[in-house]
Each structure stands twice: as C-alpha cells, then as structure tokens.
C-alpha cells in the first residue's frame, strides 16, 4: 500500500525526514512521535504535497505527486484547521466532494451521509465560524471519509475533542477499519492510537525508530534503564537502602530527593512500601520520567545511536 525507499526530505539545511525506508501493507497503522518528530512531513510526502529530496515514495504503487487517480482513493485529514469561517460545514464538505469529481447530487448525498456519521447533522448548516474545536475536527474527518477512500490518512484527528467525541470518532474509524479500509493515523498520544490499532510506527528526529505491535515495542524496551525521581525526607539513607537491596543500578542525590536508575522498576515499585514501613523513611512524591512518550523516544534514539 505505502512504500518509502530511503526517503530523505530536506528543508534547506533542516532535515524533515531522514533516510526513511518503510513498506506498509493494507491495514491500520499508528504513527507515533513527539511534536516535531517529522510525522506531518512524512504524511505530506505520502499525500504528494512534498517531493522527497532523495528516495522514492509510492502509494498503491504510484507516485503521489499530482496524481489525480490516486487522490480518488485517498482521504486526508490534516493536523491544522484550515476551514473557511464564513461557509457552513455542509457547503465546505460538499465543495470538496465536488472537487473529487462528483456530480452535485452525488456530492450532496455523500456530504449528508458523512456529516451524519461524525455526528454533525444538526449543526451542518451553521457557519463554521460558530463551530467548537471538536465540531471542526468532526467536519474535517467528514471531508476525508465522504468519498469513501481506500486509504485514510489522519494527522492528530482527535485533537480538541472531548472524551465523548474521541470515543464516537474512534468508533467511526474502527468501523471503517472493519470494512477493510486502510488507516494511517498520526498522533503524539500513544493511547489514542492504541484504541484503534496495535500496529505502531515510532518516529523521532525524522527517523523510523521502531515498528510493530505494542508488545514488540515493550519487548524492545526490556533492559532499557528506567529513571524514577523520589522526593523524600532523608535521601542519603534511602539511597543507601536502595543500593543495599540492589534495587538501583545508579542513584543520584539531588537537593530535594534522589533520582534512581534501574533496569527492574517493577521490583522497586513492589518492594518500596515494605522498606519504607520498616525504616520509617517517608516519600512525598514519586515520578517515573519514563512514563512519558518522550522518554521512550529518547531511549529508542539512544538505542538507534548505539548508546544503549
């Protein structure tokens, strides 16, 4: 479905995507990466808006640049808003369907259907300027799915949606996946993607760091040291305890606590309450830096560079 061969995209001296090679068969995929990772650049290359500086991009076996036939099979929901404020959601979606080559009647029908699917029927004749952020996201999704594309490319589609909206649109997308549509879904929020698919592409610094299922990624992370920050009353005593119990690979004492590096955080979390109870030490705050996606990417970047 999508094939990128050694694709590099340069913006002057800035690298957007760096030597990216990827082959995706039909299916649903989550493109995960922190802000500025190159997700949008990658999607722009796949949708043909950008030309790779090096390498080749193929979607359904074709070059996506100015490819009218391919655009019939492609639905794209970009990350930015970019809606016309003085037209209604209905008029806008219908206009874009007319640009797909549909007749006026066809465009009216698919516009009504798609807006109904995303829960916008009641508000569709109001000017877009009066829409909430969530309503705009729904309208954006409607324009992407209205012409029944084979491949749906979504860039942060849940941004600005409330939990109910997220759930509803997740259901819409799940239904599309179930009927065999392919979806490439970019987000910097891992659980948004997990709700739709178990196939991940992890991208950071314009590079593909890892791909596979969530389990594959977790397996990849085994052996990667985790960092835990503890705020406590007597950091030196706690540090000595953790070293004595072999619960830490390294300990760094800071002004208000200590930072523990461990390859086995599970043991630390399990045993810590008992140790505290027996020694009388108190911990007021505990943070695991590695819970954030950025930390995961930092570790993967280090692995990629051979530093881990």
């Amino acid at each position: 479905m999508i094939e990128l061969k050694s694709v590099t995209k340069l913006y002057g001296r800035v690298i957007g995507v760096n030597d990216f090679t990827l082959t995706l068969e039909s299916g649903a995929y989550g493109l995960v990466g922190p802000n500025g990772a190159g997700k949008s650049t990658l999607l722009n290359l796949i949708t043909g808006q950008l030309r790779p500086t090096l390498g080749t991009v193929r979607v359904f076996g074709e070059d996506p640049r100015n490819n009218a036939a391919l655009f019939q099979r492609l639905g794209y929901c970009p990350g930015g808003e970019g809606l016309y404020s003085n037209v209604s959601g209905y008029d806008w979606v219908k206009y874009l369907q007319r640009l797909q080559g549909m007749t006026d009647l066809e465009a009216e029908r698919v516009t009504e259907e798609s807006l109904e699917l995303v829960g916008m029927t009641e508000s569709m004749h109001r000017p877009i300027a009066s829409y909430s952020r969530g309503m705009r996201q729904r309208t954006k999704l409607a324009q992407a799915i209205a012409h029944d594309p084979d491949l749906l490319i979504l860039d942060e589609p849940f941004s600005g949606l409330d939990p109910v909206g997220r759930y509803e649109l997740t259901m819409v997308l799940k239904d599309l996946i179930l009927i065999g549509k392919s979806v490439l879904f970019a987000s910097h929020v891992l659980h948004e993607i997990e709700s739709l698919t178990q196939s991940f592409l992890l991208i950071c610094g314009g590079r593909l760091l890892a791909s596979g299922t969530a389990e594959d990624v977790h397996r990849l992370m085994v052996g990667v040291p985790n960092e835990v920050r503890l705020k406590c009353s007597r950091p030196h005593e706690l540090a000595a305890l953790l070293i004595r119990e072999q619960a830490a690979d390294a300990v760094r004492i800071t002004s208000d606590g200590l930072t523990v590096t461990t390859q086995n955080p599970g043991r630390l979390y399990e045993a810590l309450p008992d140790w505290l109870a027996s020694t009388g030490l108190t911990i007021s705050e505990m943070h695991s830096a590695d819970e954030s996606l950025q930390a995961l990417f930092n570790s993967l970047m280090k692995m990629h560079r051979g530093e881990l």
Partner: protein, 259 residues
Amino acid sequence: MIGNLLAVFLFEWKRSLTLARMAWWLMLAGFPVFIVGLIRFTTYEELPRELWAGFLFALGPMLMTMLGTLLWTTPAVSVELERRSWVYLAVRPHGTTTVLIGKYLAAVTWVIPPVIVGLTVAVPLAGTGDGWRLWWTMARLICLACPAYAAVYLLIGTILPRRAMVLAVAYTLIFELVISFIPAVINKLTVQFRLRALLIRWADMPVPSGRQAGMLTLIGDAPSWQYVLILLGIAPVLLALAVAIIRLSEFSSAAESDL
C-alpha cells in the same frame, strides 16, 4: 474537470456574497462615477472629447480593472496557504489546477460587471455627445483588460505567494504605470500598451501628425486585431504558466515546528 471548475467557480461566487465584498463591488462601480461627476460639475468649460476618453480609460479599463483583479486574484494561493486550507484542495484530483482556474474565472466575472456598470453611468455624465461610441470602446477594453490583468496577477500570486501583494503592486506601479509610458520597445511588454493602442483606434482619437513618430512608440502601429489577439492570448499563456508553477510547487501542511 469542467465539473470541478464549475464547483470552484460557484463556491467562490457564493463566498463573495458578503457585505464587505458587496461594498467593494459598489466601490468599483461608484468610483469612476464619482470622479467623472466631480470633474463635470467643478469644471466650467466644456472639456474636449479626447480628454474625456482619456479620463474614462484611466478610470475604467485601467484603474478599476487593475484594482479589482489585483485584489481578487493576487491572493488566490496565499490566502489558502495562510488559512492552511490549501492542503484540502491539493489532495483532490486536479485540485490545485481547478482551484487556480476556477478562482480566476470567478474573479474575472466578478470584476467586469461593476466596472461596466460604473462606466454606463459615467459616460452619459461626461456628456461628450458620442456616448454610445465611447461606452462601446470602454466596454470592449474592460472585457479585454480584465482577463489579461487577472492572469498577470494570478501568475504573480503563484510565483511568490507569500509576497504576492507587494510584488503585484510593484509590478503595477513600475510596469503598467511607468514603463508602459516609456517610448521604447520595453513598453510593448505591458498590457497598458495594447489597451492604449486600441483606445486610440476604437475611440477614433487623432494622433498629432507632427509628433507621429514619437507617438507610435506609445501606441504602436500594428492593426487592431493583432492587439486584440495578444490581449486574448495573454490569459491562456499566463494561466498555463501559473498552473505549471503550482504543480511544481511544494506547500507543506506541516506546522512550522515540523519543518
């Protein structure tokens, strides 16, 4: 493709039916009337017909047509890029081409009517005695000038979308208003030169015989049909160029932080 063009054309027209745009419409129609009225009622002597023809030409086919098309077509691409709506159009079959040409057609059909309406009121107000002839001359010149200028400004807007307005104003001032009046070969590159040549012929304005040679460099000596053909040819040639440029251009929907 035709259906897509029609869709863009109708969408742009529908979007233009706002109070602000209607005010612009009235301004384009009313300005020549206001200026001609001002001259007519503040001048005690009867002005020569040729002078009136010059005024009407400057107001209609020149200023109002240039202003109308400049404001409509120059930002055709930049406004979509700034609003970040370009990407929705760019991922449609022939999207960028149809949007460009559709916007062009909407602009041309939007600008011609108010300028002609203004002219229709301004010509009788001038009271030249051969109003019908002057009206017919100006109407034809407007219909030739509008597509040509719209194509010029659209091309400028596609070459440098982010600086389009500055570039278009600079082009208008330097080329159409200064260079077109320089008695040298370079003035033949301007739209103004062709329009002026046709004005002289169609309005049957005399060329002073003693200065014939000098005037020829300002109005040319080719037959009218050649000028008409060139003015009609400017639009398709420049539109084709604009389409080619837009198809080669890369506009990313990525946020600045991603670039």
